[in-house]
């Protein structure tokens, strides 16, 4: 299994029945593929849909039924649609149980940078700042390194998305929590030791003596 799917599969373990969940683009989208069989979760698209379903069969797409990237989706039985004020009321107002987002950097206190690289990539924050500020729980799905450089850093050098710390970081190597604003190893991937994780991590990472294997 590749890094992205290892991350997505682990994050799916954090879902529970009846949750309202918003998945960002990239690795987070893959989380829906690992939803435990028979479990019902409400997936929100911030363009105004709860009950986002899979890509429709060929010839069945509707131009007015899309995900936040503008791609055709289906709506599951029990779906609802609404305007953007309602959509962000759900996000900011404490109604969203979980958001899963991609990341460019996470610092050792749990702050996330995921929306711009100055002078290089300025896509706009879209809904990311609202999601991190407002969701009850924030999980970041991110590869541990990019071109050999740790993405879990001492201090974010990129502009942060919010000062609200994330709750959990899942990489292909480890699961990391942030109790007392300190990055802490919670699980390591099968066959990966804590020492191996520490070796490729720039941030100060607390490593307890016993670290269980990544759940799957």
């Amino acid at each position: 299994m590749d890094a992205q799917n290892i991350i997505a599969r682990r994050i799916a373990q954090e879902l529970s029945p009846g949750m309202l969940v918003n998945l960002g683009i990239g690795i987070p989208t893959l989380v829906a593929n690992f939803l435990p069989k028979g479990m019902h979760v409400f997936f929100q698209s911030e363009n105004g849909l709860i009950g986002t379903g899979p890509i429709p069969e060929e010839g069945m797409a509707h131009p007015a039924l899309t995900d936040a990237g503008g791609h055709p989706v289906a709506a599951l039985p029990g779906a609802s649609t609404f305007d953007s004020a309602m959509s962000f009321g759900l996000i900011r107002g404490g109604h969203l149980d979980l958001t899963v987002l991609g990341g460019l950097q996470v610092d050792q206190t749990g702050r996330l940078a995921n929306w711009m690289i100055p002078n290089k990539m300025v896509p706009g924050m879209g809904g990311a700042m609202d999601l991190v500020s407002g969701a009850k729980r924030v999980i970041v799905a991110m590869q541990h390194t990019a071109k050999g450089v740790s993405k879990l850093v001492k201090n974010c050098t990129l502009p942060v998305t919010s000062v609200r710390p994330i709750d959990l970081l899942v990489t292909e190597l480890a699961v990391i929590g942030f109790p007392n604003a300190r990055a802490t190893l919670i699980e390591t991937a099968p066959g990966i030791s804590a020492a191996q994780v520490l070796a490729v991590t720039d941030a100060e990472l607390v490593a307890p003596t016993h670290i269980p294997e990544m759940r799957q």
Partner: protein, 215 residues
Amino acid sequence: MKTISLEQAVGLIPDGASLMIGGFMGVGTPERIVDEIVRQRKKDLTVIANDTAVPGVGIGKLVRAKLLRSAVVSHIGLNAETQKQMMSGELDVQLVPQGTLIERIRAAGFGLGGILTPTGVGTIAERDKRHVELNGKTYLLEPALAADFALVHAFLADYLGNLSYALTARNFNPIIAMAGAKVIGDADNIVPIGVIAPDHVMTPAPVVDYLVMNA
């Protein structure tokens, strides 16, 4: 509410006007109004919208035709032409968090001076914004945002101008319909009064100034 031809509707818009335009990645954008703006070559426009779609689609057509002076949007990541014009200084782009943008518009349409939001505190989005402490929490004071025109796309409009939207094409449309000094509605289907049940009217007729006639 007046019914009006497409050409007349766009003829109301002067160069330099500010336009709120419905749509999310082009879904729910009044495409034929955008096409007519391009045809009539309205210039120096300010667009307030969620995004600039992708090149050549929806608001992306206005970007491509270089009719915009400024854009107040939450996302331009899927339109390289917007990014290019921003980098070169041709187009002034103000990036606003999506939830803040829609609430600023809602505030204007609902008669409020602005809103307090926790979104953006401690980030570069707080630049030049006043902080307000309330009940132990820090918020940014974000001013209401209105426009000269709201260009609204609906699924159904009745002869009075009551509007109803379809699925995810609703997005910014019913909110901007409250915040434009003049509201121009465009619908996929114009239907007799009564076809839209009162419970299903999402924008009440009195806020719609003009309804664009079928071609």
